[in-house]
């Protein structure tokens, strides 16, 4: 007795979903990225110029963005 999508499940065998970052390294990655983000923000604070908005702001924002997502996963809120 099988449901109608059972064949779809069987056809995808050997194609298990693997996350980009495993559960074990989420905290390390999240913490490192957030630290980089905070350091770059400090650096930006020393010299707030228009050139520094893309040069420091973009990497800092990206570090915050991915760092926050991985950190909230690492503490058990799987978003």
């Amino acid at each position: 007795m099988e449901s109608s999508l059972h064949q779809v499940w069987e056809s995808a065998v050997g194609n298990s979903f693997v996350p980009t970052v495993g559960k074990g390294s989420q905290f390390f990655l999240g913490f490192s990225l957030l630290t980089i983000g905070f350091l770059l923000t400090g650096l930006f604070g020393l010299n707030r110029s228009l050139v520094n908005v893309p040069i420091i702001g973009i990497p800092a924002s990206a570090a915050f963005a991915f760092g926050a997502v991985y950190m909230i996963c690492a503490v058990g809120v799987y978003v």
Partner: protein
């Protein structure tokens, strides 16, 4: 006085209306066609041979009818009806029909006919005149076993009563039939004796814990012969009036989170005296059969992690989780032994790695998720669920959601569920089922969905844009000249 009387009458009418609406909720909602209430199925079939088996070994009656049907009409027929009473219609669950001669055959399509108390079976191919087919029909009733006496002492034995018909209910004439009752014990203090008629001996015939009514000769359509058995069953009658089960999929975390919220009642005989803690504690060493729920065992899938068990007060510490490479058993003890008539609402939850439940479809952005529909406790005495609401919360931005399961459902809807770090909300698929028992425990639910790459990056993208605008704002505000100085002429 008169306004008061009018107000009372209006109130009672209103409450009656509310009750009727509430009552309607328990009716199967799967009907496709409304027939007049005077509907009678045409006499197109004859039951050549019928065996009705009533299994009372668990705390809900499971009935199966194996019947050889013959088309007695002159044209091919593909609709076979089974009649039920309105009470049975409200408590029946999991009605399934298959071809007894072909174990590989898929389940037949079955629907409830509204307004009249019939289930309609659609035969996969019309049955030619004079041709025969063997059907295996199985179903169960919830809240159908009642303790008698209804109040017993803490250590007393419990006896249950079940009323059924010695003639199997059928909308067609039956040439030959018998009803077998499988009881959990041989202690059956009372049962109805049906006197023998010409050619048939007195019923029931007893064989250990199995009682057989019949066999009977030709019986007309709709005939009933009510009989009753009262038997020992000193076990809890676990009834879950509401189960909310959430399954949350996280692609970023590689995790699948399960949470189940139960409102559990024990339908066993109530205590005739006040509960005695001393008597309970002194008995615990001997572990005698009891009508109280002491422990619930959840055999979870191997690889389940981080379980929790809480109730309205908070964490309940009387739980054990045994997890290794072969098993993951969550054993919980309620805060108090749940005796007859007592309630215990609680919640359990656990996590698991997503890779065992989710597969990526080749080509495109499709994913297929395979989860058990029900993972409740596995008790030897059985568990019945009156209402189940299963929510599959997919990642934010998942679209084109499709599902399939062999569990009979009453309603399906898709909505948005908003929680941490969401902007628009996650796609949630809500499946509702009523009158389900733990026999259907390991039925799978398969959900397929598309999850575009951009939707996956929505969360970091939103945070990225927010922080970048903060940097820009810090530069913009910082470069404003707000110094207080004198105007130069």
């Amino acid at each position: 006085m008169r306004p008061l009387a009018i107000a009372t009458a209006v109130l009672s009418f209103a409450s009656a209306v509310v009750c009727v609406e509430k009552g309607n909720l328990t009716k199967p909602l799967t009907s496709k066609l409304i027939l007049p209430s005077t509907f009678k199925p045409a006499q197109n079939f004859k039951n050549t041979n019928l065996v009705h088996i009533i299994n009372l070994e668990k705390n809900y009656p499971k009935e199966s009818i194996n019947v050889v049907i013959e088309n007695v009409a002159s044209t091919p027929q593909d609709e076979y009806f089974i009649p039920f009473t309105s009470q049975q219609m409200a408590t029946i669950g999991g009605l399934e029909v298959k071809d007894r001669k072909d174990s590989e055959s898929p389940l037949f399509e079955v629907d409830a006919v509204d307004d009249t108390q019939f289930y309609r079976i659609h035969l996969p191919a019309p049955l030619a005149p004079k041709a025969q087919q063997t059907l295996g029909i199985s179903f169960y009733y919830l809240s159908a076993l009642n303790p008698l006496p209804a109040h017993i002492a803490q250590a007393d034995k419990q006896f249950l009563v079940y009323t059924f018909s010695a003639y199997c209910q059928s909308a067609y004439d039956t040439l030959k039939q018998k009803t077998e009752v499988k009881l959990p014990t041989t202690t059956v203090p009372e049962y109805t004796i049906v006197p023998g008629t010409k050619g048939s001996p007195e019923s029931p015939q007893k064989q250990g814990s199995k009682f057989t009514y019949g066999s009977y000769g030709e019986v007309p359509a709709g005939a009933v012969e009510p009989v009753k058995v009262r038997y020992e069953f000193t076990k809890p009658l676990i009834h879950v009036s509401e189960l909310e089960r959430d399954i949350e999929v996280s692609h970023w975390g590689g995790n699948i989170a399960f949470e189940e919220r139960y409102i559990m009642t024990n339908r066993a005989a109530n205590l005739s005296k006040q509960f005695s803690r001393v008597e309970w504690a002194s008995q615990t060493y001997y572990n005698p059969p009891s009508t109280a729920v002491r422990e619930l065992r959840f055999p979870l899938r191997v690889g389940s992690l981080e379980p929790y068990f809480t109730d309205v007060i908070g964490n309940v510490s009387t739980s054990r989780f045994r997890s290794n490479r072969r098993e993951a058993n969550l054993e919980i003890k309620p805060r108090y032994p749940v005796f007859g008539g007592w309630n215990y609402p609680f919640r359990v939850g656990w996590n698991a790695d997503l890779k065992k439940y989710l597969r990526k479809l080749s080509g495109g952005e499709g994913y297929v998720l395979n989860v058990p529909f029900l993972e409740g406790p596995k008790q030897p005495e059985g568990i019945e669920y009156e209402h189940i609401e299963l929510r599959v919360i997919l990642p934010e931005g998942a679209e084109n959601v499709q599902y399939s399961t062999t569990v009979p459902l009453v309603s399906v809807s898709t909505s948005l569920h908003r929680t941490f770090m969401d902007t628009t909300g996650r796609t949630a698929l809500t499946l509702t089922a009523i009158n389900i028992v733990d026999d259907l425990r390991d039925r799978e639910l398969i959900v397929t969905y598309d999850y575009p790459l951009l939707a996956g990056f929505r969360k970091p993208l939103v945070i990225f844009v927010t922080f970048l605008s903060l940097f820009a704002a810090a530069w913009g505000i910082g470069s404003l000249d707000v110094k207080i100085k004198s105007k130069r002429s």
